[in-house]
């Protein structure tokens, strides 16, 4: 066996894989961008970043508190069990895991120009990002993500609600 030829073929195999992968990713409806948003300082991390969403991210607890005080609707994107254990006081549960069954009630309750602040359990969870995407697809264009989510809210000693 000739090792040189083996090495060349390994490189060819890798190059062919890269080619197939890029074509597949470009054609697949599940394809993701070549570069994701993995910088937690910018906002919630996600493979499928959205430039508008990053610009609209609520970066600090103070900013979130100001929005909350002004009566903006907060949406908890986590599963309903986590919501019941503790959520930002007054926040409405809209779990991404049962979004479809709950969304019609939202269409009735909130006009399309409603400002929402969505959150999950910090910058490393992606439920808030997924909920923001779903809401935008559903016609709500004013959605902001509170990136630090419930842990920062609790740590700051701000009001928390429990139960349904």
């Amino acid at each position: 066996m000739r090792w040189g030829r083996c090495m060349v073929r390994m490189v060819l195999l890798l190059v062919a894989s890269v080619g197939v992968a890029l074509v597949w990713n470009a054609l697949s409806p599940k394809g993701i961008p070549l570069v994701g948003q993995w910088n937690a300082e910018v906002g919630v991390v996600t493979p499928t970043p959205d430039a508008d969403e990053n610009a609209a991210t609520v970066q600090t607890v103070e900013e979130a508190k100001a929005l909350w005080m002004s009566g903006v609707v907060f949406l908890d994107a986590r599963d309903s069990g986590s919501y019941e254990e503790g959520h930002i006081k007054g926040a409405v549960s809209l779990s991404v895991y049962d979004f479809e069954s709950r969304f019609f009630d939202f269409l009735d309750a909130y006009p399309p120009d409603t400002l929402f602040v969505v959150y999950c359990s910090g910058r490393l969870c992606d439920e808030s990002h997924r909920l923001a995407v779903l809401l935008k697809e559903g016609g709500y264009s004013r959605v902001r993500i509170f990136a630090d989510g419930i842990p920062a809210w609790v740590a700051a000693g701000l009001p928390v609600g429990e139960g349904e």
Binding site: M10, L13, A21, S28, I32, G36, Q37
Partner: protein
């Protein structure tokens, strides 16, 4: 005389072992790759969870790596460039093992994403599993005899 008998036995057993190793490893890697290809979003998150690659490389790795697994696995299964395919697979296994051990060393365990998202957590178990796959992979790479059931380039 006894050595001849043993050699004859080895000459008959090793090619069968080589073929079985190729089929099993090939199927495992195709399966593992397909699980990731159907959920690139989840696999990119898994790669991010390993906390090793710079952010700009996470998505592209999530896109390309599963196809390397499928192509190399397919090479083993069909007997196309089997030695080169097993070389690539050995390399992948070594990279996986280093990534997992590095995270064990700093106290991280998480969904390993080995066969797609949400299967099992990293730990010494996954390292041993990788070792168990590395042995036949290296065996295929070093196999000197005539390979059975190969579509092309049975040597390399």
């Amino acid at each position: 005389m006894k050595a001849d008998v043993e050699n004859g036995l080895m000459a008959r057993v090793l090619p069968v072992l080589e073929l079985l190793s190729r089929w099993v490893l090939g199927l495992l890697f195709i399966y593992a790759g397909v699980q990731k290809i159907i959920d690139p979003y989840g696999f990119a998150k898994t790669i991010y969870g390993y906390g090793i690659l710079p952010g700009d490389l996470v998505n592209i790795t999530g896109i390309v790596l599963p196809w390397v697994e499928v192509m190399a696995g397919g090479g083993l299964l069909l007997g196309v460039w089997p030695a080169s395919s097993s070389g690539v697979i050995s390399g992948l296994l070594l990279v996986f093992m280093v990534a997992i051990v590095y995270n064990i060393a700093r106290g991280y365990t998480f969904d390993c994403g080995c066969f797609g998202a949400g299967d099992d957590n990293t730990g010494w178990g996954t390292v041993w599993r990788d070792t168990a796959m590395l042995i036949p992979a290296v065996g295929i790479l070093l196999f000197k005899g005539r390979r059975r059931v190969c579509l092309c380039a049975g040597g390399e």
